[in-house]
Amino acid sequence: MEEAAVQPAHVHAPPEGFISKYIFSLDHKMIGKQYYGLALVSVFMGMVLSWLMRFHLVWPDVKVPALGALAPTGAPGGLITPEYYLSLLTMHGTLMVFFVLTNAPFAGFGNYFLPIQIGAEDMAFPRFNMMSFWTTFVGFLVLVLAFFIPDGPPTSGWTAYAPLSAVGKDAGPGLGWGQNLWAISIAIFCVGQLLGSLNFISTTLDLRAKGMTLMRMPICTWAWFITSCIGLLAFAVLLPACLLLLLDRMAGTSFFIPSGLVVSDRLQNHAGGSPLLWQHLFWFFGHPEVYIAILPAVGIVSHVLVTSMRKPLLSAKVLIYSMMSIGFLSWMVWGHHMFVSGMNPFSSLLFSFPTLTITIPATIITLIWLGSLYGANIQITSASLFALGFVSMFVSGGVSGFFLAQPSIDIYLHATYFVVGHFHMVMGVAAIFGILSGTYFWFPKMSGRMMNETLGKLHFWITFVGTYCIFMPFHYLGLVGNVRRYASFVDDFMAPLMPVHKFISIAAFITGAAQLIFLYNLIHSRFRGKVAPENPWNATSLEWSIPSPPPWNNFGGRHPVVFHDPYQYGVKGSKGDFVMQDSPEQITNG
């Protein structure tokens, strides 16, 4: 019966040959690694772009001949033009939000570990899974292509507000084919994510091993599941939005473009469109996207923390319910990005309350972490350090969100560096910390080798202090009224703040450089690292019950049966202070 059930369940044969093993692989583990690799490439690209921006802001008249050679129109003679600054800004945001924060914690780790953690041999639809990655990859290529076209990369920011993004090249460089490529790339990306989310949901619902009830799933599995539900809705809305944008740009429709616009002395031939429509559609995706980035990190970090604490969380259930309610609330708050956008002021109030309410589940999550640390026996590893760093970042970024959720304060702080500081901390850096924590934690399982702890810790200290040095001052600048997305501050109210900007830039260069330590550690350990045992962290979830790296069908044909809740730590078990999920032994509290 069980055999009959699971034989067809193994939907693909062991991969033979390079192509089917490494390129068009159906194996969720390889696909997970591919997503992670794509994110790794994107994150370093995005980081270099941010370096160029920070450099241009503080040393606007210093020539960078190399850059001049790379981008002759964008940086003639190595001087970055204002439009190229906006291109860097747009590409940085798009790469980071879509191809890093969505790919790595969700699609990357999720693909690799969700099936294993629920005791499945693969995703429900391996072919969709493969398509999902390669679609995303094409999206990536289309986006990057924008660097190499005469028109230059798009310049309308990652939010691509219409009509700037819709009227075409008259509005400025990068808004011709650059913007087309952006919209096409994001549309393709949406398709990839939809396929992925569909896969995650079906897999979680239907391929759980015997005994793996929903409440016995590890917290990160839950996070991925909730995230895929959010993603399914979010990307299903962004896709139509991008299509309509493309129609406005290429087919002359007027969904987002009103009549009577004069751009570059040219009267635009459109009528009756609504710029706010784009903002509504975009933010209806955009805010949930924030949680698509952060929830998987929350899950990963909880998973790592609980393992390093050697004791269960105060309550995994409460944590999971809090994540759910965040996911649920995320659908009622998109308008808080539009307080000063000309939306009806009454709706601003309607949007501000659910936004403020999100603070409650977020606080619960934080308090659960803190409360669980009490009386714990924290093992300090690179993984747990990044997890603890995440908690700190999550608090810092969350608190500033509390300011922006209030329309009255947002009148002053909207579109200042305060906002930039806020979302970089809570959505950017925090999520990155989650990814890094997950990397140090799962690398042994994924590669069969340990990462170098000394380098890992060095990497942590520089990154942790560095990110605070970069993003805390952003808040101060915002309080003074330093406007974001400015290519330069000459002849300007903001010019006196230049010392702070210099400090930030230097911190950014150092912190960025420190990431090379990580890259080196990653590559070096992959080949030279010391061989990893099956369960190096004495962890309890299913991924640690199989060899490192796992065989192509995860459990080698075995069908794990689950007997316990995921985190049986601080107990008297046969192996030590923990009992694994699939071990039938009785649990006696220590």
């Binding site: 067809p8 429900a124 015997k210 009830t213 399914l232 809305v237 896709l239 139509p240 509504h280 007997f563």
Partner: protein
């Protein structure tokens, strides 16, 4: 935190047979959910856009109602096919074949019909960018047609698999395709109402 061994080890994925047929089912439903979501987005766009003036109603070519009939018929024929092949054994599937073919044909008729509708509007001088109404009309109908092509592909695949000297397709695939196809009919009815009332 303590839990006794063998406490609720039952989990539907194993007990109720193959998790994968379930997965196909829930996959289809999840997909349907996503599609619904994006058409909801299109509709809300229409609502917002309607508020901003220049709203000129368009004359719907009557063919569109014939197309509707064809699509609804296809759902019926598909049901006939399903009742023929209740458990998906080879012979039952063979009996279902003509009905499947009929469904496929009706689907193609619908697509062709929609094409004529577009031709008629174009000849009436209504193109994609002419008015906001025409824009929405083309977007709605084209997006639906696009999704229906997916269903047509699925039917073609099934028919090919049922053809002789082939391993019969998994029953769950058959059911999945059926659910999707019916959803396409429902979606079309919804769109037709929106189009007739709003555009």
């Amino acid at each position: 935190m303590a839990s006794t061994p063998y406490q609720h080890v039952a989990s539907r994925s194993i007990v109720e047979g193959s998790g994968h047929s379930h997965a196909t089912q829930s996959g289809i439903w999840v997909g349907i959910f996503a599609i619904t979501m994006s058409f909801a987005a299109f509709t809300s766009a229409l609502m917002v856009r309607q508020g901003t003036g220049d709203w000129r109603h368009i004359e719907l070519p009557p063919i569109i109602y014939l197309n509707t009939v064809a699509l609804l018929l296809s759902s019926i024929t598909l049901e006939r096919a399903r009742s023929r092949a209740t458990h998906g054994s080879r012979s039952q599937l063979r009996d279902a074949l003509p009905w499947l073919a009929a469904t496929l044909a009706l689907g193609l008729v619908f697509i062709a019909g929609q094409y004529f509708v577009w031709r008629q509007l174009a000849s009436a001088g209504l193109y994609l960018a002419t008015t906001s109404n025409s824009s929405f009309f083309y977007v709605f109908t084209a997006m639906h047609a696009l999704h229906l092509l997916g269903g047509i592909a699925a039917l073609t695949y099934l028919i090919a698999r049922i053809a002789p000297r082939q391993a019969p397709p998994r029953w769950s695939l058959f059911e999945g395709a059926a659910i999707y196809w019916h959803f396409m009919s429902v979606l079309w009815l919804y769109l037709l109402v929106v189009i007739a009332m709003r555009l």
